[in-house]
Symmetry: C2
Amino acid sequence: MAIHKKEEFTQKEQDLAAFAKAMAHPARIAILKVLAQKNECICGEIVELLPLAQSTVSQHLKELKTAGLITGAIDGPRSCYCINWKAFEKFMGEFSFLFNKLKVQNEKACC
Amino acid sequence: MAIHKKEEFTQKEQDLAAFAKAMAHPARIAILKVLAQKNECICGEIVELLPLAQSTVSQHLKELKTAGLITGAIDGPRSCYCINWKAFEKFMGEFSFLFNKLKVQNEKACC
DNA sequence: ATATCTTATCGTATATTTGCGATATAAGAT
DNA sequence: ATCTTATATCGCAAATATACGATAAGATAT
C-alpha cells in the first residue's frame, strides 16, 4: 500500500467509511445488538455471550468507542457501555441521504 | 489471528458485517456516490474522478460487486456499473430494524 | 492481422486487522 | 496489606486489506 490514500477523499466520505468500518465485523455487530437490546449497560456479560477471549472483546469495545458508536463509563470495578444513539442517527441519516434520496429519482438503473 | 472466528456468529451478523465492510473505505463510498448520482452506468469515468490507479479502482469495484452492492455489465469494450438498490434497501432496513426500532424503546441510556 | 482503447487480473510490497495469552490496573472484599 | 474480580493494555503471530505497475483479455477500428 506504500502510502495511504484515504486522506485524498472528502471528510464526509472518510467519516462514513469509518462508521462502516466500525461495524465491519460480526463481533462488533453482535456487541451492538446486545447493547441495543439490553437497556442496562453491560460489560463482562458481553464476553460471555461472544465466542472470543476477554482481551479480544475489550479490543472490539475500544474500537466501537473510538468510532463514537458507543459510550463507556467506569462503574465501580466494572465498565459499562451503551449505544450512542445520536451517532447512529447521524450516520444512518447520512447514508439515507446519500443513497435513498437519490434512489427515488434514479430507480430505473441501466444494468 | 490464527483461526477465523467469524463463522461463529450468526449468518445475519456476518451479512451485516460484510455489507458494512464493503463500504468501509472512502474510495468505495466515493464510487457508490458517483454511481448513485449519475443514473448512467459509468466505468472509466470513475477512475478519473478518484485519486487512485486504474487497477486499484477496478479492485474496489470488484469488491463492491462481490458484496452485491453494485451490478456490472459488459458494454462493448467497456464495463458498466450500477447500484443494486434492492441490496441497499435490504441492508439499510435490517440496520434500522436492529437499532432504530430498539432506540424508541430504550432511548434513556444509562451512560 | 495489427493497433488501440478499456477493463480485469496477477504479482508484490506494505499496512492494518484480528486474536490471544500475559500482564497491568483499579476497585472491592477479607 | 492481600486476595479476588473485572477490565484494559501490551506484545506478538497470522490473516487481510490496500495500492500499484505490469500484463492479459476483449472489443473495435484501421
